[in-house]
């Protein structure tokens, strides 16, 4: 044993991991629709007729190919649950924690499926009253995907 035996030496690793994921046929279609048309699209299962979201080639419930019956999810829905996070949350775009993100919510779209997204409102008291919401799309720089929607804004009715 040397005199340094009790020194605790650590190895720091902070390299970003680089991946290049293919969206594939089904998610690719949904991404293309958000990017080009500011439109959320899901596919309807050929058997149970439910909307599969996120879109998939196989219905998770029926375990059969979903087919290509595409439907618009629309821009409006109802907040089922929300949370605002006080603890820092990981921001994958900048590779670090952020302290005050927009609140997360589980939203039932009027078309019937449920999506996860953010809410514009950040005041904890006002959040309690947020029920009906509408997607606010990015006007510039849409790249395909859920970040093409900035957040959901409270609306009347």
């Amino acid at each position: 044993m040397t005199d340094n035996a009790e020194e605790l030496i650590h190895v720091e690793y902070t390299q970003p991991w680089r991946y290049r994921w293919s969206t594939g046929k089904y998610i690719g279609k949904a991404y293309a629709e958000t990017k080009r048309n500011k439109r959320l699209m899901g596919n309807r299962c050929s058997k149970c007729q439910e909307i599969v979201w996120p879109p998939e080639p196989v219905c998770p419930r029926c375990k059969v190919p979903t087919g290509e019956k595409w439907v618009e999810l629309g821009d409006t829905g109802t907040v089922l649950q929300y949370t605002y996070q006080v603890m820092p949350m990981w921001d994958p775009h900048v590779g670090r924690a952020r302290a005050h993100p927009h609140p997360s919510a589980n939203i039932r779209m009027d078309s019937g499926c449920h999506i996860m997204h953010r809410l514009e409102e950040t005041d904890p008291e006002k959040l309690k009253k947020v029920k009906r919401v509408k997607a606010v799309w990015k006007e510039e720089g849409r790249q395909g995907g859920m970040d093409d929607i900035l957040y959901f804004r409270a609306i009347d009715g």
Partner: protein, 383 residues
């Protein structure tokens, strides 16, 4: 008649917020050395342990093939080896199937984790699908807050009832020498702790934890020779549900119900509340214990609040849940389910010391993996 499978030795490290004095292999070996020493077994081809199955997670460990670092410690060098990148209860399930099939008669399992090595929120975010969930920066805390709200609103579960779980489990932990965070707290302490993600507060959540658990499983013939107190795996099952939260009923935990019913059927359990005397279940957040009660068939849907109020699941109740203190008192993810099973083994052997439940014959171990309990595993054990 299938081969019977027993757990013949168990060991855990003491759980700790930051074991920066050891790497994962050294941490795992602290538990492994105990089960090897206790049974006197080796890894020889002639009658030794023929297979090692570990559970760990590549993202948490920051390296693919996260079992590499424990290869030597678990005796896997030039031997049959497997890794389960899921909660450790699934590693026991995997070892069980190898023995039932007759392919192996002795298997060592080990689950190891150093949560202190990485940023919890980052790792959990990386487990999300990259197309639809990861971009939001959502982590298990956020997702669980949504689940908690969904469950509490649907059934009128109160924050006080959730807080009772934290008070019970952290209080029980005072009797557990392996526990990281035994605390004498009150419901008010929980309700006054800081909000992490509304409605989840600091004391509703488990702390960051490092630790390992190891076991040796044996065929009936080998088990009889190794110990006077073999603990039999009577039933086991797992069930997997949708990843995307919108696809699930967050207040229902359907995967857990399915896994539990299959495990009970296999173990010939018809009335779990009457037939099971002790349960150890994984609850990263306090509301989960109440929700999982119903999934495990210990009460009806939405009756978890009433069950905790009744005192049945406290120490001294007819079905004590988490006498060890559960995960809330500090057990790492991935290790959770295996350490639950280890605690049930101690209970059924009558070796749980100050946290011993009186004379249990049947015990239940539960573990889950992933956001809001996506993969659920249930095991019924008997002495």
């Amino acid at each position: 008649m299938a081969n019977r499978v027993a757990i013949v030795a168990v060991a855990q490290t003491r759980y700790h917020p930051n074991r920066e004095d050891v790497n994962e292999g050294e941490l795992a070996y602290e538990a492994i050395a105990q089960v090897i020493g206790e049974t006197g077994l080796d890894f020889s081809e002639d009658g030794g342990i023929g297979l090692a199955i570990t559970s760990s997670d590549d993202y948490w460990d920051g390296r693919t093939i996260s079992n590499n670092i424990v290869q030597a410690a678990v005796g896997a060098h030039m031997s049959d080896e497997g890794k389960v990148c899921e909660d450790g209860l699934n590693a026991i399930y995997s070892a069980y199937t190898r023995i039932v099939s007759g392919r192996q008669d002795l298997v060592i399992v080990c689950s190891h984790m150093k949560e202190s090595q990485a940023d919890k929120s980052m790792v959990e975010n990386l487990t999300m699908d990259p197309m639809f969930l990861r971009p939001f920066g959502i982590d298990y805390l956020t997702a669980s807050a949504l689940q908690a709200r969904c469950y509490m609103e649907k059934y009128g579960i109160t924050s006080e009832q959730c807080a009772k779980v934290a008070v019970k489990n952290r209080g029980n932990a005072r009797n557990n020498p392996f526990a990281q965070e035994p605390l004498a707290i009150t419901v008010d302490d929980v309700l006054n702790s800081e909000v992490m993600a509304d409605p989840i507060r600091l004391l509703d959540s488990k702390p960051v934890s490092d630790g390992a658990c190891a076991m040796i499983l044996a065929s009936e013939e080998r088990a009889r020779k190794l110990t006077a107190k073999p603990i039999w795996i009577l039933g086991v099952s797992n069930c997997y549900e949708a990843h995307y939260l919108g696809e699930r009923d967050l207040a229902a935990c359907d995967a857990l119900s399915t896994a539990a019913q299959k495990a009970y059927r296999m173990a010939d359990i018809k009335d779990p509340v009457r037939e099971i005397q002790v349960a150890e279940i994984c609850e990263e957040f306090s509301y989960q214990e109440l929700l999982w009660y119903a999934g495990l068939g210990l009460c009806g849907a939405g009756e978890g609040g009433r069950l905790i109020d009744s005192g049945v699941t406290q120490m001294g109740g007819s079905l004590a849940v988490n006498p060890s203190g559960g995960m809330l008192s500090g057990v790492p993810n991935i290790v959770g389910g295996m350490s639950r099973a280890a605690e049930i083994v101690l209970q059924l052997r009558g070796e749980a010391a100050a946290r011993q439940v009186e004379g249990p014959r049947i015990g239940l171990a539960h573990g889950y993996t992933g956001m809001c309990g996506q993969l659920q595993c249930v095991m019924v054990l008997g002495n």
